[in-house]
């Protein structure tokens, strides 16, 4: 679903580009609280991981292909603002090093598949966390649902953008039905992968999951004196 050069008209591309620039600007400021010495590599890995996940392509109805997006996954792992930076970097790398997605459509791709999936995924995740009991075992499922919802929403936005700046009059109703239908399926795949990945990471490195930090309890350390330790 990476939009190539010339797919949307110039005004639409410029507008989405502006949205992307402003949001990244805000994210840069906000992310300072999420990003430190130890989380910088994490952000890089999440970007690499999202990149890998996006290589899994599904054939989609009207000739385009769909793939996993990873926005919700990134948001739960590193926090929403850093996630926006991660996803933006992924699209830049895909565009500049792999020629996937046009350079004039970079803003569109970032807005469509980065900002939207991160925002929707994170809001759903947080919403669920607020209404459900605060238990660490629920985190993977909450993340999975956030991921599931984020995908069809992004697909709808794609249809919207196409209506505004697309080349020609395809029947929008049909396009919307086809896109959303298919993307619910992709969303299920995205949800399952997000669920499994967050579950696996929580099991051995709970400290790496940003979305779980508020509900991680502090452990008490045991101190052994040399005499009692010598017996061990």
């Amino acid at each position: 679903m990476h939009v190539p050069d010339g797919f949307l008209d110039a005004p639409t591309s410029a507008a989405t580009g502006a949205v992307a620039v402003v949001t990244i600007g805000v994210a840069l400021v906000k992310a300072r609280t999420e990003l430190d010495d130890k989380t910088a590599p994490m952000a890089g890995l999440v970007a690499a991981f999202v990149f890998a996940v996006q290589m899994l392509n599904f054939p989609v109805g009207v000739g385009t292909s769909g793939h996993l997006m990873g926005g919700a996954l990134a948001a739960v792992l590193v926090g929403p603002w850093t996630a926006i930076l991660c996803l933006s970097v992924v699209f830049m790398v895909q565009c500049l090093l792999f020629a996937d997605g046009g350079i004039t459509a970079l803003g569109t791709n970032i807005t469509l598949m980065g900002l939207t999936t991160v925002a929707v995924g994170w809001l759903v995740f947080k919403g669920l966390q607020m209404v459900l009991p605060k238990r660490i075992s629920l985190v993977p499922a909450q993340a999975g649902i956030g991921a599931l919802v984020s995908v069809p929403v992004a697909a709808l936005l794609f249809v919207g953008l196409y209506a505004v700046g697309g080349a020609t009059g395809i029947d929008l109703g049909n396009l919307a039905t086809a896109m959303v239908g298919v993307h619910v399926l992709i969303g299920i795949g995205e949800g399952v992968i997000t669920f499994l990945a967050i579950g696996a990471i929580l099991a051995v490195r709970p400290d790496l999951v940003y979305g779980a930090r508020p509900i991680l309890e502090r452990r008490e350390l045991e101190i052994r004196t040399p005499t009692s330790g010598a017996a061990a």
């Binding site: 709970p206 452990r219 045991e222 101190i223 004196t225 040399p226 330790g229 010598a230």
Partner: protein, 250 residues
């Protein structure tokens, strides 16, 4: 007595997965000492070492280096003073060529040009790897990578050298050469090792860590000849070696 250059007090630490590895460790090392850190697999030696330049953050207790507490504000200074050779050389090497990798540290300190080159070549000569200067480090043999890893730390000329199993995977001559280098440098050395003859040869003092606490601290000779202590902590002298009869090398 002077303030210790390495001062660890009541240090406890649990890994993020909940596994506690250190249960209150005390260790004081003074300027110019060479200390061996012995103990069975899983004792917590590596975990302790990674606290000395702030890679792990103390869960309880405190660590300080030359009087500076190991905490965020001092990390840059502490990492300049403490050079750590990691147990796994693959954790240490990351640049595209041996030259870039060994030069990385001094370049960060602002050294460049001919001076940088001179220091890089000197460090590589010390470990006998000068001819490999333009090869990618991940295309070297394991022992060669270990030697380059040692060079990346020597080149920084740290005041305190912490080595985690530096002699493993080295051929016998390199092992002896490393001992010669360490003896010739005027620095404080803390060396983790399972090679007890090597510890006796190089370090007058030994600390034994077991189950996350210090169970012995004294002269290496005394530690190695204390049979009860040795068997209690999985330390055994290797085949054909007896500290009582081994004479120090000239």
């Amino acid at each position: 007595m002077s303030t210790p250059v390495l001062d660890v007090r009541g240090l406890a630490y649990a890994y993020p997965d909940g596994h506690q590895a250190l249960f209150g460790v005390d260790l004081h090392v003074h300027q110019g000492e060479r200390v061996a850190l012995l103990g069975p697999n899983g004792a917590g030696k590596t975990t302790l070492v990674l606290h000395l330049n702030g890679i792990h953050t103390a869960g309880a207790g405190s660590v300080s280096v030359s009087g500076l507490p190991v905490e965020k504000a001092n990390l840059t200074e502490i990492r300049r003073r403490v050079g750590i050779v990691f147990q796994d050389p693959d954790d240490q090497l990351f640049m595209g060529t041996v030259r870039a990798d060994v030069g990385f540290g001094p370049a960060n300190l602002g050294i460049k040009g001919a001076e940088l080159d001179r220091r890089v070549m000197r460090a590589l000569e010390q470990v006998g790897m000068a001819e490999y200067v333009d090869r990618p480090p991940h295309h070297l043999s394991f022992g060669q990578r270990r030697r380059v890893a040692v060079a990346t730390v020597l080149v920084m000329e740290p005041e305190i050298l912490v080595l985690d199993e530096p002699s493993s995977n080295l051929d016998p001559a390199s092992r002896r050469e490393l001992a010669d280098i360490l003896r010739s440098l005027d620095v404080t050395v803390l060396m983790v090792t399972h090679d007890l003859p090597y510890a006796l040869e190089l370090c007058p003092r030994s600390v034994v860590l077991s189950g996350g606490t210090v169970v012995a601290d004294g002269s290496t000779y005394d530690v190695l000849t204390d049979d009860a202590l040795m068997t209690a902590h999985r330390l055994e002298l290797p085949f054909g070696f007896d500290p009582r009869t081994a004479t120090p090398r000239p």
